[in-house]
Symmetry: C2
């Protein structure tokens, strides 16, 4: 008999059905013993009615995998309003190991390290599962929006001959006796592909050998990348990003209501247009409002980002804030300058709830500008030759951005550590499981 | 004025429009000079009508990026039946470099190495573009089918502490002073996630340090991975794969008709059920039909695969053939044995037009079976501890498979070399561009 999900019990009242899943918990109410069976769809309740069955089940540990055949009966007290009576129980995979921590309580009460050490087990907790279902849906929403907007999906190489932006923070590899690197971003490739498709996107891992361990960094993460041509300037890019972020959040609210509910996700405050502040104005605002004179700083600190977001929420009722015009010295060589003041650039960060979520901007598009930009930074041309070909042979004004998947979901859920929203996080101290 | 694509000229007859793109070619017919402008949607024709314009354009090389403003006029002789008259032309990015080879002929006539050395330029050829649009659409079709079938998308780490299947052919990495590896497949992670979501998929790069260079191998490729639980045996997996392959091909035929047409893609012969042959029977068949006595061989050679496909096409009118039951000695340790004859396994390859396209099967699901399988192969338990936790804490019977994206598209298009369908291929000799 074809198995059904426990979520489908309500549409099979009175019928004989087969369900299957993990032995989530037992519950004894008076003389009745309930078996809670967890499958991909949720948790279903089975009334255990014979001593023999009880004896068999009592020998098993939680998480044993069972198949249950029985009759669906309406019962107001049951989870979902239905339960299984007269069960026949078949053991698919018996478990004898004792769980390292309980995953059948509503909230997982365990340290992050213990959880990560036991991820294959701990990820089964319904709240953890909800987080990573949101991650999957966020990727899907990203792609759906971009496909509708005429973008083509690409898959670019992760083993590369030259570091993307500088030699720092890049993992080195022995590639058949010569040096190769793990791509820090698909930047060069997505730009090259603008010459082919005009509008491209990619979701793929990126690798950053940053030798420090903070709650807001990982050494490998999922980057959702966009690049497109025939833009006016970085504002064209920001407009697309605004629509994309809104579409992704609306998708999650619409298609993941049970995850949104169980994780208590607060929908972000999003005005029609996200507020924008120019970098020097942002520093001036911090000085006036918070008293820290950072007006000579070339970049924003985490505290600055928090202050600016506090201001944007108060002033514009927005959880998002664009900061534009970062100084050229702090942006990579391919960044397009602000034509009206070349100390600054046509770049932006999108801040979300106190933290940078997206980095993007307009890129240089003329070959001679690349030659000059590399020379200005004392970088050699040769390692970039294949990339520079895209500009030698004609590229339109273009730009793009990258969103970190784990960071997007972390900020959306108001979590404090990227390791809570990375499936199997990699950091200075952890490459297992 | 908002730019339109050249493919939209027919819906704007008589109107003033702006188009933009790359200077694909000039064509002189009698006294009239036509500028062919290529954008993401196709190629549009512009009638150049002043000597001044002609002089300006004559100074530019092909691939210069132009914006053209003019009137849409019906003209039966024009590409697509419409052309632009009275153009005003603005140069967005002038090109002075001479193209390394022409990309404005219907067929790209250049050696593979020269093409790959100039990929940023050469990929703009409409036929190359068509190939990689098919790749993007194939990924999209794969995901759409699996989402509809209740699968959850996951993103698993590519930096791992232990090699997946053996220590051979794996890229080694310096990870902050200790050894790490690039994942040869997401095998362990997708199995662990069956314990969480039951049904999972992932599209991501995989890395194989195979020290040889053949037309059918790459050192980095895009793996489309599937894994799911509560299966009967490997036949459940093969049934899903059959439906998936059919859905992907139907998607391409329906949504990429211009690419299918321009690349002369021959739709594969696909009976309702793909034929299946058991490994020992396959060797016997080769012996009887082709005279090579390979009946003691533990695996199929490329020639064997070609012969079997020839037979399947003749016998079953099928471009696809499942071979099941490969010997345990040639399959990884997690492969489930055939319960009726443990010399063989519940594994399969799906052959397509003479070559292995997919490898898959049923996996072990009991912890003690893993302990024994590792011991049988003299592999230590410890590096696999995090992975084995999934089985210690209960896993259903499960299985899955992986499809190589580049190989799928190569075989679909009857191409001879994976480097023709890999966007920026990585092999023994090439990691640029």
């Amino acid at each position: 008999m074809k198995r059904i999900y426990v979520a489908d019990l309500p549409s099979n009242p009175g019928k004989e059905v087969t369900i299957a899943g993990w032995m989530h918990a037992f519950r004894r109410v008076g003389k009745v013993v309930f078996l809670l069976l967890r499958d991909a769809s949720g948790i279903g309740q089975v009334v255990v009615d014979s001593q023999e069955q009880l004896d068999t089940l009592a020998k098993l540990q939680d998480e044993s995998v069972l198949e249950v055949h029985g009759t669906v009966v309406a019962e107001a007290q049951a989870l979902g309003g239905f339960e299984i009576h007269n069960p026949q129980i078949r053991i698919l995979s018996p478990v004898t190991a004792v769980a390292p921590f309980p995953i059948n309580k509503p909230v997982l009460n365990v340290s992050l390290d213990t959880f990560l050490d036991n991820a294959a087990f701990g990820l089964r907790h319904p709240q953890k599962r909800a987080i990573f279902r949101l991650c999957g849906e966020a990727m899907s929403a990203f792609r759906a929006f971009l496909r509708d907007a005429g973008f083509t999906e690409i898959a670019t190489p992760k083993i590369v001959a030259a570091a993307t932006e500088s030699g720092a923070n890049v993992f080195k590899l022995d590639y058949f006796g010569r040096d190769a690197y793990l791509a820090q971003s698909p930047q060069f490739y997505k730009q090259m592909m603008v010459g082919v498709f005009e509008r491209v996107f990619e979701i793929a891992p990126v690798f950053r050998a940053e030798p420090h361990s903070t709650s807001r960094h990982l050494n490998e993460y999922v980057s959702m990348d966009v690049e497109f041509g025939f833009i006016e300037d970085h504002h064209t890019v920001m407009d697309l990003l605004t629509d994309l972020i809104r579409a992704m959040i609306e998708h999650l609210l619409r298609h993941c209501s049970s995850e949104v509910h169980s994780l208590r996700m607060q929908p972000p405050a999003m005005p029609d247009k996200f507020p924008v502040i120019y970098f020097p104005d942002a520093l001036e605002l911090i000085y006036r409002r918070y008293g820290e004179d950072c007006r000579q700083e070339p970049d924003l600190s985490p505290q600055h980002e928090r202050w600016l977001c506090e201001w944007a929420l108060e002033q514009y009722k927005s959880d998002f804030l664009f900061v534009t015009g970062f100084p050229a010295s702090k942006r990579p060589f391919y960044t397009h300058p602000n034509p009206e003041d070349t100390r600054y650039t046509n770049s932006f960060d999108l801040l979300f709830r106190g933290m940078e979520l997206v980095t993007g901007g307009q890129r240089l598009h003329l070959y001679e500008d690349y030659v000059k930009a590399l020379a200005d930074r004392n970088l050699p041309l040769e390692p970039f030759a294949g990339y520079l070909d895209a500009f030698r042979y004609g590229m339109p004004p273009h730009g793009g951005f990258a969103i970190g998947l784990e960071r997007f979901v972390m900020l959306l859920l108001n979590r404090q550590n990227l390791r809570e929203t990375a499936l199997f996080p990699r950091d200075l101290n952890r490459i297992t499981p």
